[in-house]
Assembly symmetry: C2
Homo-oligomer: 83 residues x 2
């Protein structure tokens, strides 16, 4: 079966996010004053041929641990859907 | 009401994504050969005080158009949840 894997990789809550802070200021400056706590991370998606949703998820976790995410500074969230 | 706004900003399908191509190759090289078409974009989230989910969504679309996304090269997807 073919799956679409979507991964969000975000800076950990405990850490400063300078890019997010810059975007917060930018949005405030152009009039979006009601929003706050902008955080900026990566969104990665790919297609994969796997036996089951669980197999695809396990593989995605391995890919995050080995290459995609820096677990010291980032956390990831995986979402899988059949295509 | 307070909402959590999550925005995915991805390079348009018609365009090359060199970063995604590099990640595809990297994953193939470390043994993840069953996956393909990796695309890398941004994931942005923030908190906002708004009257309704629709108001929050409209504001997020404006923020995408004015600052967050380059609509020539990128498309965005907005997800709103109450917090």
């Amino acid at each position: 079966m073919k799956f679409l894997v979507e991964i969000d990789i975000m800076p950990r809550k405990e850490l400063l996010d300078p890019q997010g802070k810059a975007v917060t200021n930018g949005l405030h400056n152009i009039g979006f004053t009601s929003l706050d706590n902008v955080r900026v991370g990566k969104h990665i998606n790919y297609e994969v041929e796997a036996e089951s949703e669980n197999a695809a998820k396990e593989q995605a976790e391995n890919a995050c641990k080995k290459l995609l995410a820096n677990l010291v500074m980032e956390s990831y969230h995986i979402h899988i859907s059949a295509i």
